[in-house]
């Protein structure tokens, strides 16, 4: 037992030197490296596992970290400095027509269920469109509707109001104003006008709680 210890002591380089070696190998290898591979490359009797403990400690809080990757080891950028490895370019895109229409419906009809959005648009609303609007933090889930199936509703967010410069969703121009602004066709087909009015008359009930300041 003592002989063994002595043997190792004499053959292996000092631990500080082993640490240097592990450091250099970890730095230069093209892939994470296992303790066994380290052992194979270092002088006989080296204990890379121990050297790794010291090295890992030495890099604590530094710009790079000694990290375990599966059963191998590698030097990696410290998590909080990842931003230095990226160059961000911001690209502004126009929202798709489906998304803007869905958003408009939520804004005008909130709280509104997906089924209702689809009914108004006359086409189905893709999961992606809803997800995108939620991700943009322009819509969020509202309360469940107290109807069979208890469907979730969607409402617009404070972020939405901020983005569009609205105090309040009630500030959205009504259909009459849209019409007088020339945004709505001047000639609504017969019968639609009445339906719209109903719509407008009816919606405040549902909306009141949401539009309360």
């Amino acid at each position: 037992m003592d002989d063994k210890v002595n043997e190792t002591l004499f053959e292996a380089p000092p631990m500080a030197e082993q640490e240097r070696m592990v450091e250099a190998i970890l730095f230069a290898t093209a892939e994470p490296i296992t303790v066994r591979e380290l052992e194979a490359r270092m002088p006989h009797g080296s204990d890379p596992a121990e050297a790794l403990v010291y090295l890992k400690k030495r890099y604590e809080g530094r710009g790079v970290q000694v990290m375990r990757v599966g059963d191998a080891w590698a030097i990696r950028t410290a998590g909080d400095l990842g931003f230095l490895m990226q160059k961000e370019t911001i690209e502004t895109r126009k929202l798709s027509r489906a998304a803007i229409e869905t958003l408009a419906i939520v804004a005008y009809h909130q709280p509104v269920t997906r089924a209702e959005i689809e009914e108004i648009r006359g086409v189905s609303v893709s999961r992606g469109t809803i997800d995108q609007l939620i991700e943009l933090e322009w819509i969020r889930f509202g309360r469940r509707r107290m109807t069979p199936g208890r469907p979730v509703t969607f409402v617009v967010t404070q972020g939405f109001l901020d983005h569009f410069g609205l105090e309040n969703a009630r500030d959205l121009p009504g259909l009459k104003e849209l019409r007088s602004a020339g945004l709505l066709d001047n000639r609504p087909p017969p019968g639609v006008g009445a339906a719209l009015d109903d719509d407008e008359d009816e919606s405040p009930d549902g909306q009141d709680e949401l539009f309360e300041d």
């Binding site: 730095f27 230069a28 892939e31 160059k87 690209e91 408009a104 419906i105």
Partner: protein, 262 residues
């Protein structure tokens, strides 16, 4: 001094001759005459600064002679160097001719010695350079480089107007009709052509094109523009068909037409 140089060469041992012959066999291995001279100078076993250029010239000439005897093909620059060294040798051996211009034999010899020393120095420098630790051999770069990734962050934008327009679109989509051009105010070329065909029979004299505009199309500027364009296009068609002639006195002057063959 020259005498001793000769003697040294004559008295040179067998070893040197063998070495010279070995050089000849290896003639392709030399990087030009200067390289060969540098190798030959080493056989003098003195510091390059003390090398006897005269002796060197003789060594070189002997080398060339032997190569010739062995019918070895030598590149032209080796022969040029041989000629130059023969000239240098004569300069060094003969007393200087005061009437002769140009650099002295000593100057030329000194320069050759400098060239040899410089070449030797660069050889040594390149050896030192290559003996340095080298990247990828002795020291190493990062094995897992992380490139700067370009992150493209897409932000979506929409304006209140977009929102309102979208809503309007939805609420009025029942009214939607496919887009068709409003033809109410358009006078087509076909119409103009029909009209012109009926009228050109009367155009014996130069008449202004403008007078051919259809009735009721002059007042409204939109209608007038369309009618003018159509009528002009129709006119060009008729010119092409050889039925009428067309002229314009000046830029922006009235365009006139008349029936052809009058």
């Amino acid at each position: 001094m020259s005498e001793t140089g000769e003697d040294d060469w004559e008295a040179d041992d067998v070893e040197a001759r063998l070495a010279a012959e070995a050089l000849i066999v290896d003639v392709d291995g030399f990087e030009g005459p200067l390289d060969l001279l540098l190798t030959l100078s080493r056989t003098q076993k003195v510091d390059l600064r003390k090398v006897s250029v005269l002796q060197l010239a003789e060594q070189y000439l002997a080398f060339i002679d032997q190569a010739k005897a062995l019918r070895l093909e030598l590149a032209a620059d080796y022969l040029v160097m041989a000629a130059w060294l023969a000239f240098l040798k004569s300069r060094l051996l003969l007393p200087p001719d005061p009437s002769e211009e140009g650099p002295s034999g000593e100057d030329l010899a000194a320069h050759l010695a400098f060239q040899l020393e410089r070449l030797a120095a660069m050889r040594e420098a390149s050896a030192k350079l290559m003996a340095r630790d080298q990247l990828g051999r002795d020291f190493f770069a990062r094995g897992i480089p992380e490139d700067v990734t370009r992150v493209r962050r897409v932000t979506y934008s929409a304006t209140l107007l977009d929102l309102m327009q979208a809503y309007s679109r939805i609420r009025t989509k029942d009214d939607f009709r496919p887009f068709v051009m409003d033809r109410e105010k358009v006078f087509t070329m076909e119409q103009a052509l029909d009209r012109m065909r009926g009228l050109i029979g009367f155009a014996g004299d130069w008449t202004e094109l403008i007078s051919y505009l259809p009735e009721g199309w002059e007042a409204d500027p939109v209608k007038r523009r369309s009618a003018t364009a159509a009528t002009f296009a129709a006119t060009l068609e008729l010119v092409k068909a050889g039925q009428i002639e067309l002229r314009q006195g000046d830029v922006f002057a009235p365009i006139q037409i008349r029936k052809k063959g009058t």
